[in-house]
């Protein structure tokens, strides 16, 4: 059971390919920077992709003005995967899944005078990206808060196991926008500094902008695969996680059960750096007996990339497996959760075969998956 991983791509301020991004992380570089946008009264940390540079990258393949910022990110990201793999999206055995929480939210902010408000609908985004690749199957959109990316990968695996499709590209993307910035601010969830996942002095999230795409296949395209995955709901509160990590613990348990593994070598946490999320995760990992497993949160480098997070962080995880390298959890200095975790403090070589990826989101949703290197 399971599905193999093939080509992948990450687009972020750290680069337009997965390699550039992974190399940057090895070197300890962060995509998070202090920004001062005209929509914000004070500076804040986030990672945002420069629109001019994006335009230059896109110029080779399409007309800049015909697409929104997000559409260009998605198209470039998927195109890198298509180019690397030679996959034909015009084949009815192949599917594109788009994972996004807010899509072209900047349409609602009237950023493009020449596009109608209709463009804000997520199916329109799917149609636009799908048309670029002449997709035979209408791209499927998964919009399930911050678990969207990981959930989309799990759903892709299920379709492949079930022989509904042979190959699926999952593309996750979201913008940094005033919409989300103001919203998270109203929850007092934003940090004024670079975020510090699992740290005693963490004060909240940074937002990040990224697009990430990965190919899953029934064919053995590499020795990396997703062997199990599950989602579960806390059924407790719509904006705060269960204090005891019920939903995440259930997702992790189910994931381990179907994987037939009892241990993993690495955990890529959700680790948003809010007080509640990181504490909840420590509870869930502790209940699952995983407190000694090396763990990191990639959000220390990119911030919270929402719909892209699950895909981006999964790619970093499988690259870690491929390179036998555990990446330091940037931002962490002093343990800050009630359950002690083995947070990675130095990037270093380590023999790795399996990784657990976790994600949680608004609406009480949680997801977990296990990746394996053969």
């Amino acid at each position: 059971m399971g599905a193999f991983f093939g080509a992948h791509n990450i687009i972020s301020p750290l680069g337009y390919t997965s390699s550039e991004n992974f190399d940057a992380l090895i070197k300890g570089r962060t995509a998070l920077q202090k920004h001062h946008f005209d929509f914000s009264d004070k500076p804040f940390f986030c990672s945002k992709i420069d629109g001019t540079e994006l335009g230059k990258k896109f110029a080779g393949i399409g007309t800049d003005n015909d697409y929104t910022h997000l559409e260009k990110l998605c198209i470039l990201s998927v195109k890198d995967v298509v180019d690397q793999s030679g996959l034909d999206l015009q084949d009815k055995n192949n599917l594109l899944i788009v994972s996004t929480t807010k899509g072209n939210v900047d349409i609602l902010e009237h950023k493009y005078p020449h596009f109608s408000q209709q463009r804000a609908y997520l199916p329109e985004l799917a149609k636009t990206v799908g048309a670029f690749f002449k997709c035979e199957n209408t791209p499927l959109v998964v919009s399930n808060a911050c678990i969207s990316g990981l959930l989309a990968i799990i759903i892709a695996k299920r379709f492949i196991e079930n022989k509904n499709y042979k190959n699926i590209i999952v593309c996750g993307a979201d913008l940094v926008s005033e919409f989300t910035l103001s919203g998270f601010r109203s929850f007092n969830a934003m940090s004024d500094e670079a975020c510090k996942p699992f740290d005693k002095n963490r004060t909240g999230i940074n937002l990040g902008e990224a697009a990430a795409s990965i190919l899953l296949s029934a064919d053995k395209l590499s020795n990396l695969s997703i062997i199990s995955g599950a989602s579960a709901n806390d059924a407790n509160h719509i904006s705060g996680p269960s204090r005891t990590g019920d939903g995440l613990h259930q997702a992790i348990s189910e994931t381990f059960k179907t994987s037939r593994k009892t241990v993993v070598d690495l955990i890529s946490a959700h680790g948003t750096a809010t007080e509640y999320n990181d504490e909840m995760e420590s509870m869930a990992f502790s209940r699952a007996g995983l407190t000694t497993v090396p763990i990191n949160s990639i959000k220390g480098y990119y911030g919270h990339t929402l719909g892209a997070a699950g895909v981006l962080e999964s790619i970093i995880s499988i690259q870690s497996l491929a390179e036998n390298t555990i990446i330091k959890s940037l931002g962490f200095e002093t343990p800050g959760t009630s359950q002690a975790l083995n947070v990675i403090t130095h990037t270093q070589k380590k023999e790795l075969k399996t990784c657990l990826k976790a994600a949680s989101g608004f609406g009480g949703c949680n997801a977990a998956a296990i990746f394996e290197k053969l």
């Binding site: 609908y121 209408t138 808060a145 759903i155 079930n162 509904n164 919409f179 709901n233 059924a235 949703c365």
Partner: protein, 202 residues
């Protein structure tokens, strides 16, 4: 409900959802904090659950919630966007912002009925572009869930539409608890268009 009209009112009437709430005596104060998408989802699933014999005996962690729509959370998105558009009248609120994600309706249903199983929210232009039947079948067949509660819930101005269904796996045979017909995409489409045909209400 099962192809029969059970309630009719003008969906443009301001209090359509409120009227449905009252008539069905929901007795759930959290309802009034919700946006229209969540109110619609709560009402539709409530009616379905009340008409599903033995729903209370279905193992809660084995119920998968699989929903979809066309407009995601755009109604709430527009309200939030409006609240931040003018710097002089700037009032972003967490009680609005929390509803700017379509899967919150899944969260509300989960909370009300204590359902802790799988979640998925899809978005597409039309109902029949969502692989409801395929996904439901694989969830049940692979033992990922023993019940699937799902459907299309859309709230976008004049468009207020909900079509929900429940499928339970009984001893590896499939049976539609609520529809005494086999669960397949033809029946789903037929039932959906019946609902669509009945005026003004679903």
């Amino acid at each position: 409900m099962n192809g029969k009209l059970i309630f009719k009112a003008d969906t443009e009437e301001e209090n359509f959802l409120g009227a449905l709430y009252k008539i069905n005596a929901l007795n759930y104060p959290k309802f009034f904090k919700m946006d229209r998408l969540c109110k619609l989802g709560i009402l539709a699933t409530e009616l379905l659950i009340r008409n599903t014999p033995d729903f209370d005996t279905f193992p809660k962690k084995e119920i998968a919630l699989v929903f979809a729509n066309n407009s995601s959370s755009l109604e709430s998105d527009r309200i939030h966007a409006q609240a931040i558009a003018d710097k002089q009248h700037y009032f972003p609120s967490p009680s609005v912002f929390v509803y700017t994600l379509p899967n919150i309706v899944i969260g509300e249903i989960a909370i009300k009925h204590k359902i802790t199983g799988e979640n998925s929210f899809f978005v597409s232009e039309k109902f029949d572009e969502i692989p409801f039947q395929t996904y439901t079948d694989l969830l049940l067949r692979d033992g990922i869930a023993s019940t699937v509660l799902g459907g299309w819930i859309n709230a976008d101005g004049k468009d207020l539409e909900a079509f929900v269904y429940c499928v339970k796996n009984l001893n590896f045979k499939q049976e539609n608890i609520n529809f005494s017909q086999p669960h397949n995409s033809e029946n789903l489409k037929h039932l959906y268009s019946l609902e669509d045909g009945s005026t003004g209400n679903h």
